[in-house]
């Protein structure tokens, strides 16, 4: 039996109480560090820009809202450009997530459960794409998208991202964990591979596929570099790119940018709260595999 070293005796307990208070103090300080920029963003969003600036110049701390203008969120949502960007981001993100999930499932199944020539070579080709991120291929891909007349279009924004090596990897890993006997039995029962994949393999792997869907959505929603350069018309600006447009307006309108940044994060905050465990599992998948 392991004896609790600090169980008995009042000095131990006192030390532990001090420790607990210290822990809470540290946790509170760290929380304030993380939350402070979010707090100031809310303050700036609901402050009237000119009075806020005047209060700053008059020696105000700037830590409190000036004017309490909650209507700003409604006005941002009423701006056509903003709602259009929000909608476009949602559509593009859903297309990317659906595309990535589908292509990863079928490709993952091929690698995990099918036998075919040049398997290792094809797998190497997939892994090799990790060395060719969009940051490297940007210039050439913009040219390709122009050649295809996909500049300023949903195809241009979504199609290049409908396959992702990480997803293929993750889902292949999940399928490899399915007992071989189960597959053999199903095939003997006359299941086709297709039916086995969608009736057995996918349902069994739902937790991992779910995590992948969330991570994929996070990535697609937050994308910046590609949408910034794969479109130049305002109606094809995704929300992230629209944030820049708002943020580079004159100081008098900056409250719009801050309100927009808050609104743009709400979908992700909701997801994070609803699916915290699954998202964390997805984020740590790489770390655990090493």
């Amino acid at each position: 039996m392991a004896t609790e070293p600090l169980a008995a005796g009042s000095p131990g307990r006192a030390r532990r109480t001090v420790g607990t208070i210290g822990s809470y103090a540290l946790l509170t300080v760290l929380s304030m560090m993380i939350l402070f920029p979010i707090y100031t963003t809310i303050v700036r969003a609901i402050s009237k820009p000119i009075p806020y600036l005047q209060s700053l110049q008059g020696g105000g701390s700037g830590l409190w809202p000036v004017g309490w203008d909650w209507g700003v969120f409604g006005r941002v949502l009423n701006e056509d450009d903003f709602t259009r960007a929000l909608l476009l981001s949602a559509v593009i993100a859903i297309l990317i997530v659906a595309g990535q999930t589908f292509t990863s499932i079928v490709a993952g199944y091929a690698f995990a459960c099918l036998d075919f020539p040049f398997k290792r070579t094809v797998f190497a080709v997939v892994v090799g794409t990790l060395l060719l991120p969009v940051e490297v291929t940007l210039i050439a891909n913009i040219e390709t998208v122009r050649d295809l007349s996909w500049f300023n279009s949903w195809q241009g924004l979504a199609v290049p991202f409908m396959a992702w090596a990480f997803g293929i990897f993750l889902i292949r890993q999940a399928f490899m964990g399915i007992p071989k006997d189960l597959q053999d039995a199903a095939l003997l029962d006359g299941y086709s591979h297709f039916r086995f994949l969608f009736r057995v393999a996918v349902p069994i792997s739902r937790p991992i596929i779910g995590s992948f869907v969330l991570i994929s959505f996070l990535g697609a929603w937050n994308q910046y570099l590609w949408p910034r350069f794969a479109a130049d018309r305002q109606e094809w600006q995704t929300i992230q790119v629209a944030l820049r447009t708002l943020a580079t307006r004159e100081v008098n309108n900056l409250n719009f940018a801050f309100a927009a940044a808050i609104l743009a994060s709400i979908p992700l905050v909701v997801l994070l709260i609803a699916f915290q465990r699954q998202i964390i599992r997805g984020l740590t998948a790489g770390a655990v595999k090493g």
Partner: protein, 295 residues
């Protein structure tokens, strides 16, 4: 059983399996061919030829040769961009790791309400780089930011601008680093924790001698993710930093002001590709050597 299945799979045929595999792999192979491998070839082409301005009138692209690649990669734009990217990496990665470890060790306790703190610490996972940059404008904006008078964070001068942008990146990464380090800490077996407690190790010694080695795979993974993120950073600079201040490598490639030629931007992209190869190779060797894996 296995003999029977062997026969079944044999009869139903390797052939049909190959056809099915081809169909299943076609989507990813096509997308990767068009948007990952073909562009690599195209970058080489673009950097070797100068686009003819009158292409539509039938003029061919003009061969400018390898000298363009050499000139670009030894030139001012590549060197200064690379230098900014390296400095940005050195500023954000160690600080990011440290913050992640600090947040995670603080939150890895059995206390009432610890869940709330854990949620707060992971909250920046929900913010994109663009959102984080706009959020930091409330602090850094030269006229109205709360820290407008803090000179070493001024967005109007190159070095302080780089520091300011780094700060926003560290904050934005905090959620991810926290989540991963916390998962690693919680994976440490209870017996090991108890054993070290009983051994009478001091908190510091326990941390450096036991905890850090045990979570080193997660730290290495994080370090790699953060390095790659830093070398590919763009949005922070695009949103926070006025154009002529800190410009990382990717800024020179994307070239939002359109001052460089397509050929030199393509050559710069090849430079970034080389850098990606170096980082990946280093990562691979490190993972092979393997930090303590806690068997």
């Amino acid at each position: 059983m296995s003999a029977r299945t062997e026969r079944v799979t044999k009869r139903s045929g390797r052939g049909t399996e190959s056809v099915l595999a081809a169909a299943f792999l076609a989507p990813v192979v096509i997308i990767f061919a068009v948007f990952a491998y073909y562009p690599l070839g195209r970058l080489v082409y673009l950097s070797l030829y100068r686009r003819n301005a009158n292409q539509f009138l039938g003029g061919a692209d003009e061969w400018i040769g390898f000298s363009n690649i050499v000139d670009t990669l030894t030139g001012e734009a590549f060197r200064s961009g690379l230098w900014v990217s390296v400095k940005f990496t050195l500023l954000t990665v160690p600080l990011g790791l440290l913050l992640g470890v600090l947040l995670a060790s603080a939150a890895d306790r059995k206390l009432k309400g610890i869940r709330i703190f854990q949620t707060i610490f992971s909250s920046t996972v929900a913010s994109s780089v663009a959102v984080a940059s706009v959020v930091f404008l409330t602090l850094l904006q030269p006229e109205t930011g709360l820290w407008r008078d803090v000179e070493w964070l001024s967005l109007n001068r190159p070095n302080s601008a780089l520091l300011a942008v780094s700060l926003s990146a560290v904050w934005q990464n905090a959620g991810l680093t926290f989540v991963i380090v916390l998962a690693a800490l919680q994976a440490i077996p209870e017996e090991i924790r108890e054993a070290t407690m009983l051994d009478g190790y001091g908190a510091m010694r326990r941390f450096w001698r036991v905890t850090v080695p045990l979570i080193s795979p997660a730290l290495l993974f994080l370090a790699i993710v953060l390095v790659v993120n830093a070398l590919q950073a763009y949005a922070q600079f695009d949103i926070l930093s006025p154009t002529d201040q800190a410009q990382p490598l990717l800024y020179k490639i994307a070239d939002p002001e359109g001052i460089s030629t397509l050929s030199s931007r393509a050559a710069l992209s090849l430079g970034l590709f080389a850098l990606t190869l170096v980082v990946s190779f280093t990562q691979f060797t490190l993972l092979e050597k393997r930090v303590h894996y806690g068997d």
